[in-house]
Amino acid sequence: MGTIREGHIGYREAVALLAIMLITKVFLTCPSNISDLGGTAGWLVVLVYLLVAVVAVLPGLALLKRYPDRTLIEVAEEFGGAITGILVALLLFGYFLLSTVIIMRQFTETVIVALLPTTPISLITVFFLLGMLYPCYQGIESLTRGAWLLMPFFALGLFGVLALVLPWANPDYLFPFWGPGLPAILKAGPMKSSMLGEILLVTLLNPYLRDRQKVTAVVMSSLIISGLIFTLTVLVYQMVFPYPASGTEITYPMYNLARLIYFGRFVQRVESIFIFIWVFSLLVNVSALFYGTTVSLARGLNLPFYRPLLFPVAVLIYSLNFLILNFPTAAWLDAEVLHNYGWIIAFGLPALVWLLAKLRDKGGGSHGIHPQNNG
């Protein structure tokens, strides 16, 4: 396997990156979808799928702890042969590629609606591509550190919006408490756990963690932090916009929340300021996904570097971006495909590789040290 060299990722930086990645969906249509699915109990759906994700991620974590110096692809190759390795790499590549493209298209459309109504989408996309190419050229170390540095601003922006719209919140909108009923919520949970599927990236970052033993803490912290913030957001959103409208009428929940802010004469119409937070978080998200796309391809092809692939893959993303017909298609792909079936790859693939490794690896790997760790 190629030895792709990167720097070191500390615990906080890793959590910052993954948490921001997972929270980013808050800025797109996701809260609407959840609200549509769970009715007045949308926030309960989020809690349920958070729980499901926390459990579903366990086999993958076991794998990472067992082979701390290798990525998912390398483990798959070692125990399943070259074909399996390439297959796993391609699946990862496809998953990350699809996520990148869908999120990018949704976001660029949002920018047009919210900020730059007359600018052609291609220009917006090109600048967005620049914003994600540079961090990947710099490497994952810079990206995680940047994410950690921007974390306070995210927190400030997100909680700022949520706090400032509280005057419009009406707790009565949260009832009936169970929404469509407990069984429906429980049913929605597993499928929607795909919303947290991007945690899959950790299988590629694992070897670069400064403290590899902390991988469980990294994964769990990012899942729980982002899950709880998501819950809170949906909760506030549903308190401000009552159910049927919250599910069907509103395309960009966070943007609409921010538009509501009116705090005296001077703190109003601040949604443009929050654009900063949105752009930052989307860029972190897409850069990380893009990194995942390229690195899984590079590792699958046994390349010692991934940077030469960045530009070609960016071009690929750019073209795929425009294959999506329009914004509703992108939103539909996001809600109905990626967020319903994404778990198969996000949680299923690591679990499968874990099973494979468990069956094939008799005792040798229990210490996590292998002679050929970069062979």
């Binding site: 070191h8 730059l116 540095l149 004469r265 443009s272 300021i273 900063f276 752009v279």
Partner: protein
């Protein structure tokens, strides 16, 4: 010239005037074999080979193939070794083999024959035409009489010292002494006749030359193949004066000067400890300037010292004269936006940095020191932050961060809002802006760029302007920027406020390198926001954040200890009270992490549990009593901080095991 020929010349069409033009490039000038004495053989060889080509039209056309194969790093190393082993300026194989005298002149040997030596000296220093080296021959009235000569560099050596401490004893006082006649005259001269405080015997002619070049006086005796170097340095330099750039209200008011030994002394007088080490290097083949590397042995991470030493030693160039040039040779990433070193003119800042485990560099002739490694946060620190009480210090830093943001983003914000997001502005303000912009014929971006450029012009002119006509600049600037531009409806009054605030913001940033970076970025952001509004600006800011997070200064991430996160040392933006800053910054990986014991103010009444802790920890007891003395005089605490360090060092030996463990981890990382 007769009058007829002059008239004839008017009607003659020829190229005679072409004869008078002078060009460096047209005809190769034959290099004399002695030229480029300080240069290595390869350098001069290169110069010769490239000379005939330069200026010729053939070069313009396309590729000019190098006649010699390109130097690989390996061959360069080799060549370097060669020049080193064969001594500076020595050329064994000249392009012209050279006569015998030439060979003599380029050997390292000192001859017994004085006149031969002097001849060689003259040849080496190109006397004549060079007049800077003064050679004085004389006779020492020993038994038997001895011929001698001294040589020194005019201006670098102190005339008085030479007259009274070299010439006088040798020429006048040497016949007073009767004892030790049979001894070797060299040792007599060395031990009895030269009362200078530094006298060295040298066997190599190159050492003697180097001594003369740095202001010492060479003494040669006829009949003996050795030379003496007497310390007589005494060139003119500025006296220590107030800092020009880094002024403070409270704290020491002295700055470095252009003399390296004065500068090292300025640092040393703040760190009276035997562990402060000054290493000297020579930089530049032609400039041969002294460069000092300062660190505290046993505190500064040896890996850091070794790396900086390696970088300094690796420099292979002809001319370095200041820290600004040196900085560019040794920085981690030349493409980085932020400076990789902290440049300061304050000895107290250098001393404080050394006590934290940094290394510092001084270059002779430059009144600035370089502190390495640097973090982004130290670029917005000033020395004063530590000298005033902590709440004010923290506030000052917060204001500076605000200044940074204002300086960087305010114009772009204005452009974005006016161009793309006018809905953000409350109605009344919007009307005011619209009214003020109504009569302006330019788009907002054009207006901003114009004003920013005007401001930068004034700033640049203000630096370069002769100080006599300085006050005029203020009038011109204020009139142009303030009154006239608004009155002429070229810019809106609001914009004047914004540009003024931006300018103030940039002046509040204490580091010149950081200001320059922000100034550059400001224009980039301006265009991004003029192009894409907040969206473009946000992407720009994000890229800059990612860029900065990837930068390192001698291996230390420049955003530490915030990102990557390290346990804070209480001295980042929020500044803890001095007595609470017990640990040195972790990212420096100092050998001794603790700078003072847990309890530094045992007398404090609110510290009742402190006594219990003190009793528990017998080790810290000693230090605490030391600390007590210091702390009784709370005002002196800052100046005593260094002493505390030395005290704390003993204690650190306890913690050292931990630290070495940490060091191992660092090695892994």
């Amino acid at each position: 010239m007769s009058i007829w020929s002059k008239i004839k010349a008017i009607f003659t069409i020829d190229d005679y005037y072409m004869d008078e033009t002078f060009s460096l490039g047209d005809r190769p000038i034959r290099q004399s074999p002695q030229e480029g004495q300080g240069q290595s053989k390869q350098e001069s060889g290169k110069a010769e080979s490239s000379k005939p080509e330069s200026g010729k039209p053939q070069k313009r056309g396309g590729f000019v193939l190098p006649k010699k194969p390109l130097k690989t790093s390996e061959s360069r190393e080799k060549a370097k070794k060669q020049t080193k082993s064969s001594g500076k300026g020595e050329k064994e194989e000249q392009s012209h083999p050279g006569s015998e005298t030439e060979q003599i002149n380029h050997s390292r040997e000192i001859y017994s024959n004085l006149s031969k030596n002097l001849e060689k000296l003259k040849a080496r220093f190109h006397i004549p035409p060079n007049i800077d080296v003064i050679i004085r021959e004389f006779t020492i009235p020993l038994e038997p009489q001895l011929k001698g000569a001294i040589a020194f560099m005019e201006g670098l050596a102190s005339r008085d010292t030479i007259n009274s401490h070299v010439l006088m004893p040798l020429m006048l006082l040497s016949n007073l002494d009767e004892k030790g006649r049979n001894a070797n005259p060299v040792s007599i001269v060395m031990e009895r006749l030269l009362p200078g405080n530094q006298v060295e015997i040298k066997d190599s002619f190159d050492d003697l030359m180097e001594g003369i070049l740095t202001g010492t006086t060479m003494v040669l005796l006829d009949g003996y193949p050795t030379g003496l170097l007497v310390e007589t340095k005494g060139w003119e330099h500025r006296t220590v004066s107030r800092p020009n750039v880094e002024n403070v209200v409270r704290g020491p008011q002295e700055a470095f000067v252009e003399h390296i030994r004065v500068n090292t002394a300025l640092v040393r007088k703040r760190l009276h400890c035997n562990t402060l080490v000054t290493e000297m290097f020579k930089l530049g083949r032609l400039s041969n300037v002294h460069c000092a590397l300062l660190y505290i042995e046993g505190l500064t991470n040896p890996k850091l010292v070794a790396e900086v030493r390696r970088r300094i030693k690796g420099i292979d160039t002809d001319y370095i004269s200041d820290t600004g040039t040196l900085e560019q040779f040794i920085e981690d990433n030349p493409a980085s936006l932020l400076p990789g070193q902290l440049s300061t003119e304050r000895p107290d800042r250098v001393a404080a940095a050394l006590a934290e485990g940094h290394v510092a560099m001084l270059v002779d002739g430059d009144p600035f020191a370089l502190i390495m490694p640097v973090t982004f946060w130290s670029l917005i620190h000033t020395a004063e932050d530590a000298y005033i009480r902590w709440p004010y210090g923290s506030l000052l830093r917060a204001i500076r961060i605000l200044a940074l943001f204002i300086n960087l983003l305010l114009p772009s914000f204005y452009i974005s809002i006016v161009n793309f997001h006018p809905e953000m502005i409350p109605t009344d303000l919007l009307l005011a802006i619209a009214a003020s912009r109504e009569s302006i014929p330019f788009p907002a971006i054009w207006e901003v760029v114009m004003m920013e450029l005007a401001f930068d012009l004034i700033r640049e002119a203000g630096i370069r302007i002769p100080s006599i006509i300085g006050p005029t600049l203020g009038i011109v600037g204020a009139l142009i920027l303030g009154q006239a531009a608004v009155a002429a409806n070229i810019v809106s009054p609001l914009l004047v406020i914004i540009v003024a605030l931006t300018g103030l913001g940039s002046f509040a940033i204490p580091n010149y390198g950081l200001t320059a970076a922000m100034r550059t970025l400001r224009f980039v952001f301006l265009f991004l926001s003029a192009f894409l509004g907040f969206y473009g600006l946000a992407i720009g800011v994000f890229l800059v954040v990612i860029h900065i997070c990837g930068q390192k200064s001698v291996g230390v991430p420049i955003m530490s200890p915030v990102s990557p996160f390290r346990p804070p040392s209480g001295d980042v933006v929020y500044r803890q009270p001095v007595w609470k800053q017990e640990q040195r910054p972790v990212f420096m990986r100092p050998l001794a992490r603790r700078r003072q014991p847990k309890i530094t103010r045992p007398w404090a009444t609110q510290l009742k549990e402190g006594e219990d802790r003190q009793n528990q920890d017998t080790n810290t007891g000693k230090q605490d009593t030391n600390a007590e003395q210091q702390d009784t005089n709370a005002e002196q605490q800052d100046t005593n901080a260094e002493q505390q360090d030395t005290n704390a060092e003993q204690q650190d030996t306890n913690a050292e095991q931990q630290d070495t463990k940490g060091g191992k981890q660092d090695g892994d990382n």
